[in-house]
């Protein structure tokens, strides 16, 4: 699967959240459904950035307990935790080495570039199973 589908409304919610957390990084989980040819984002859930406050302009982290809670919620709703999204303030929507070192395969990483407090670009990525690099996915906004 190399296509991820997100509605314009959900994309707008991500943009608004990322602009609100600027100049810090923000993020959350992508809940969705996996089908034969594409992944579809059904819902997004904002999760607090718990990285040290003075580092939040270039770092994002969430509590393991948030993963546990949201994975259980997804199971209860018949959905799947398909990925996570975060912002890169005043930088391109390209994954960093830090992103790669902390990434899992089979998971979609949506990065939003926020330039001067305005969401400028959104791209979707997925880690290769050998952890060597991210591949860009086709992001379809419907």
């Amino acid at each position: 699967m190399r296509v991820i589908i997100i509605s314009g409304e959900l994309q707008q919610r991500v943009f608004e959240q990322m602009e609100a957390t600027y100049p810090n990084e923000g993020g959350g989980f992508l809940l969705g459904a996996a089908e034969a040819e594409a992944l579809t984002v059904v819902d997004i859930i904002q999760v607090d950035n718990v990285f040290a406050a003075e580092e939040q302009h270039h770092r994002y982290a969430m509590r393991p307990q948030d993963w546990m809670r949201l994975e259980d919620q997804a199971d209860e709703r018949g959905l799947t935790l398909i990925g996570y999204y975060h912002s890169h303030p005043d930088s391109p929507a390209l994954p960093s080495d830090y992103d790669r070192e902390h990434a899992l395969p089979n998971f979609v990483y949506i990065i939003t570039s926020v330039m001067m407090a305005r969401a400028a670009d959104m791209r979707a990525w997925r880690l290769q199973p050998d952890r060597s690099r991210f591949d860009q996915l086709t992001l379809e906004v419907l």
Binding site: E25, G27, V47, F51, H58, R59, Y60, A61, M62, R63, P64, Q65, W67, M68, E71, A74, T80, L81, I82, Y84, H86, H88, S91, P95, S96, D97, Y98, D99, H102, A103, L104, P105, N106, F107, Y109, I111, P129, D130, R131
Partner: protein, 91 residues
């Protein structure tokens, strides 16, 4: 047997199974048994012999890093859970 719950993205390496029965008297032995059953998990859980920094093992609500780490003893019917610490950011 003890059980280990696998995080969603890694279930592709366990044939889709969320919970895996494992043998072992410690967390480390249980993880070794998990990797014997599903070797493709290793690269994503371990860096050499160490757990990757973003990989957490919980017993109930307790992170094993605040117990005895991989040497933490477990009961035969213990429920373990692998929880990634999601993180990202610029260089």
């Amino acid at each position: 047997m003890a059980k280990i719950r696998i995080p969603t993205p890694l279930r592709a390496f366990t044939d889709g199974a969320a919970d895996i029965d494992v043998a072992g008297g410690t967390v480390g032995e249980a993880l070794a048994n998990l990797l014997d059953q599903h070797p493709e998990l290793r690269a994503h859980l371990f860096n050499g012999e160490e757990l990757r920094s973003f990989v957490n093992i919980f017993i109930g609500d307790e992170d094993i890093r605040f117990l005895q780490g991989l040497d933490t003893e477990i009961d035969a019917n213990e429920s373990l859970r692998i929880i990634p610490s999601i993180a990202g950011g610029l260089k």
